[in-house]
């Protein structure tokens, strides 16, 4: 890890495994994989010093398609697994990746507390506004009138979750939105997010061509945000409350302290015993 200069830089391709993804042809998650590996190359990280942690979902399959360390854990728990890893091993670069169902539905509590705790993690949410893996049910980001799931035959009737507004309110310090249709732009944002100390929230619009075919329209509707990155939370809040969910860019960078406990021994285990001696 210290001998960084001597180890040769790797290409993006070197961060990919040779497993064939289970994804449908045209799925946005392929691009996210490309963006992630590009970012890792750009960052010049050694494979053994990176870990990609995920939950369960089509999106959460991503670690297996990289050649770094990783954990494909259980549905909704990617953030705590990653938090434990990073706190115990602050020397590693830890990227968390998953879907909107994994992150905002079953994983919502960890999302709230990860924003708040501010451990140095980069969280990539591959948001397709649907549960792809279980064949197309509404997720928290699904529009209220989407009626293509038999579970919600008249639509959910519930306003969609606004992940970035919640992230901001919960205390996140780096807030960005990307689009899988722009893999280079996404790679740049991921690079910036990894470099940002503390928790970085990156929402990536990543189309589900199978269960949300209308997301193909994102090609024309998604655009760069008409603001530059702000460091003012109130301003970011105002902007996000009015946002339509389709503008991309790094929207907010804050300056709260990061959570990184020292792991320095100051005494031996034997010394602990003295407290018990009669």
């Amino acid at each position: 890890m210290t001998a960084l200069a001597q180890t040769p830089a790797l290409t993006a391709a070197a961060y990919k495994s040779d497993y064939r993804p289970v994804w449908c042809p045209g799925c946005g998650h392929y691009s996210v994989l490309s963006s992630l590996t590009k970012a890792l190359a750009e960052l010049g990280l050694q494979r053994e010093n990176v870990a990609v942690i995920s939950g369960i979902g089509c999106s959460s399959r991503i670690p297996a398609y990289t050649s770094v360390y990783g954990f494909h854990s259980v549905h909704g728990r990617a953030l705590p697994v990653a938090t434990g890893l990073k706190v115990a091993r602050p020397d590693l670069t830890v990227v968390v990746a998953g879907g909107d169902g994994d992150g905002y539905s079953i994983g919502g509590n960890h999302f709230l507390h990860a924003c708040r705790r501010n451990v140095d993690l980069t969280y990539l949410v591959m948001d397709n506004q649907v549960y792809g893996m279980t064949k197309g049910q509404a997720s928290p980001t699904t529009p209220a009138d989407w009626d293509r799931s038999k579970l919600t035959p008249h639509g959910t009737g519930v306003s969609p979750f606004h992940p970035l507004a919640v992230a901001l309110a919960a205390g996140a310090n780096f807030i960005a939105r990307c689009y899988a249709g722009d893999p280079n732009g996404t790679a740049r944002v991921i690079t910036e997010a990894v470099r940002h100390p503390g928790f970085s929230m990156v929402q990536i619009l990543s189309q589900c061509v199978t269960y949300q075919p209308s997301q193909k329209e994102w090609k024309t509707t998604v655009r760069k945000a008409d603001v530059t990155t702000t460091r003012d939370a109130v301003r970011a809040a105002r902007w996000l409350m009015a946002d339509d969910g389709l503008s991309t860019g790094v929207l907010y960078i804050g300056h709260r302290p990061i959570y990184r406990p020292e792991l320095q021994a100051s005494c031996s285990v034997d010394d602990l015993e003295s407290g018990f001696v009669v």
């Binding site: 890890m1 497993y19 050694q46 494979r47 053994e48 010093n49 990176v50 870990a51 942690i53 399959r61 670690p63 297996a64 050649s67 770094v68 360390y69 990783g70 954990f71 494909h72 854990s73 259980v74 909704g76 728990r77 953030l79 705590p80 697994v81 990653a82 938090t83 434990g84 890893l85 990073k86 706190v87 115990a88 091993r89 020397d91 590693l92 509590n109 960890h110 709230l112 507390h113 406990p261 020292e262 792991l263 320095q264 021994a265 100051s266 005494c267 031996s268 285990v269 010394d271 602990l272 015993e273 018990f276 001696v277 009669v278």
Partner: protein
């Protein structure tokens, strides 16, 4: 006085300082060379309700409360009926109470105990800054014959932060109490002569002992969510870990804590959480993830009364089922149980060792009566158990995380090791870790995960086996103390028994158990559950003689040595 110990109950309103007095008495006894045990009980009020302390002091190690109390000191009568089941009195018991506190409650009077009203309130009123609990400590100093200077030393240490005035008042209270006893007709209740202390003794709770065992075993990362009665493990661990270069993270819930430790352990740091029934229930899905991904973790479950929120402050052994069987799918894991306060350290340390060695989750069962009680014990011997994980070497090529080895244990790469990159997975997988739903991979991995637990040599630690009588008493956890004592009483009557107290509950040790049972023709199972969970588990896995009885009762009242002894006697 039962044999060589003295049993004392102190009760009063929460603010009366019952616990302070009891702790000082335990400390003083320890300083004077005695062993002892202290448990506590309190009513539902968060603060300021009634509380009772139970002590048992003696010249030999004490592992459980006695059947009854020799002495009760009632600082007042506040809701003392609440403790009726716990404070067992009889005609030989003495109850010291305040002459001005009104009549003793019916249950106390009905016990036949000798009531000794003393002018407690009055005495306290006449001492400047006097407090009831210090007076009570004095009464007990007088009764037990503990040296005044030793008690005084403990009081001085305890009160010195609070200024000279408070300290003086405290010491005056103790002296006044001693004087009251000396002036009264109360029959003394002396501790025998104190045994020579060969080595320094410890004053430790089961929860602290478990924490220490974990750190000794190598735990350096803990994530947890507070829950009664496990919180003290965390309270001891948080500052202690910090000193030895580890860390405790307070998580947002148990789902987070269990997954955080899985992450920490994946990173190579031996990791632990501690909880109680409701929290354990929330962790089951992810304990299964640790099984499937072969990530070592240790989960301590300090059992309390169930089901559901149940009785959070009282003891029971009824989480046995969930610990053994609570995972979905075929998910072999290890379950251990600590059989005494001191053994919490041994069992915890051994459990860390097993988890790391076998890359498996270990659930360690203790309970409220072990965790929240304190004991004076001999300093435990140093144990050689350290968590050590088999790892591949850096630069390994063709690394396969879930390789099919003979032992079932495959070297586990840790981030930072070049060439070891792999994806840990809770999906069924091929040897490489790549997801697979194939029949062969599933069978091979299921076999491997079962094999590593079956082939491992757990040595003699799987159980304590004592004696070789024809009547075997099979038990676990905090029932072991009362059973051991009952066996000793039986022996004194010439009844030979054998005790089999299981430390390793799963995987079952068929051969060892059969060997331990050789020559026994009757089995008495002792446990503290309502539905005979331990008995059912034994039936499922072991061959038991037809001649079998079960002594099983739910909490909150502990199993007493006398109950077990009565069973033995009736059956002999």
């Amino acid at each position: 006085m039962s044999g060589d110990t003295v049993s004392i109950a102190i009760s009063g309103a929460g603010g009366a300082g019952v616990m302070t007095a009891a702790q000082m008495l335990l400390d003083a006894a320890a300083k004077a060379g005695f062993y002892g045990l202290m448990a506590r009980s309190s009513g539902p009020q968060i603060r300021g309700g009634e509380v009772a302390a139970f002590l048992r002091l003696g010249s030999r190690p004490v592992e459980c409360l006695d059947d009854r109390f020799d002495v009760m000191v009632a600082l007042d009568w506040l809701n003392v009926e609440r403790f009726a089941g716990e404070i067992v009195l009889d005609g030989a018991s003495v109850v010291l109470c305040d002459a001005d506190a009104g009549e003793a409650p019916e249950r106390i009077r009905a016990s036949g105990a000798q009531l000794v009203p003393l002018p407690l309130q009055e005495t306290v009123k006449n001492l400047p800054g006097g407090r009831m609990n210090m007076l009570g400590l004095g009464l007990l100093t007088g009764l037990t014959g503990l040296p005044e200077d030793v008690v005084g030393g403990v009081v001085a240490k305890g009160l010195k932060k609070r200024g000279q005035e408070v300290l003086d008042a405290g010491l005056a209270g103790v002296r006044a109490g001693m004087a009251l006893v000396a002036a009264s007709e109360v029959p003394a209740c002396r501790l025998g002569s104190s045994p020579p202390a060969v080595a320094p003794r410890w004053n430790i709770s089961g929860n602290e002992a478990a924490g220490l065992g974990c750190i000794r075993g190598g735990i350096r990362f803990v994530a947890a969510y507070p829950i009664t009665p496990a919180t003290e493990i965390l309270e001891w661990l948080a500052p202690s870990l910090e000193k030895v270069g580890g860390v405790l993270v307070q998580a947002e819930d148990e789902l987070a804590s269990i997954n955080m430790i899985i992450g920490g352990s994946f990173g190579g740091t031996p990791a632990l959480t501690a909880t109680s029934g409701p929290g354990l229930a929330l962790m089951m899905e992810s304990i299964g993830l640790a099984v499937a991904s072969e990530t070592p973790i240790v989960v301590i479950d300090v059992m309390r009364g169930g089901p559901s929120t149940g009785i959070p402050t009282k003891s029971e052994q009824s989480d046995l089922n969930i610990a053994l069987y609570g995972l979905h799918g075929d998910a072999p894991h290890i379950v251990t149980a600590a059989r005494s306060i001191a053994d919490c350290q041994f069992t915890a340390q051994w459990s860390v060792h097993l988890a790391e060695q076998l890359q498996v989750p270990v659930i360690v069962l203790t309970d409220q009566s072990l965790g929240q009680s304190r004991a004076i014990v001999d300093r435990p011997a140093d144990l050689a158990f350290i968590g050590r994980r088999e790892m591949p070497v850096a630069g390994v090529t063709g690394y396969q995380r879930y390789a099919l080895t003979a032992s079932g244990v495959s070297p586990m790469a840790i981030p930072g090791i070049p060439g070891g990159e792999y994806i840990a997975d809770g999906l069924e997988h091929a040897v490489s870790g790549r997801p697979s739903s194939g029949n062969e991979d599933h069978s091979a991995q299921l076999d491997k995960r079962a094999r590593k637990l079956e082939l491992f040599d757990y040595g003699d630690h799987w159980a304590d086996v004592e004696g070789d009588g024809p009547l075997a008493i099979v038990t676990l956890g905090s029932c072991s103390g009362p059973v051991r004592e009952a066996c000793a009483r039986a022996k004194a009557l010439g009844i030979a028994t054998r005790l089999i107290s299981l430390r390793l509950l799963a995987p079952a040790q068929e051969d060892r158990f059969a060997k331990a049972l050789e020559g026994a023709d009757r089995v008495l199972v002792v446990e503290q559950t309502h539905s005979k969970q331990f008995y059912r588990y034994l039936r499922a896995h072991y061959d038991l003689p037809r001649d079998l009885k079960v002594l099983s009762r739910p909490g909150p009242l502990p199993i007493r040595p006398g109950e077990v002894f009565d069973c033995i006697k009736a059956w002999s």
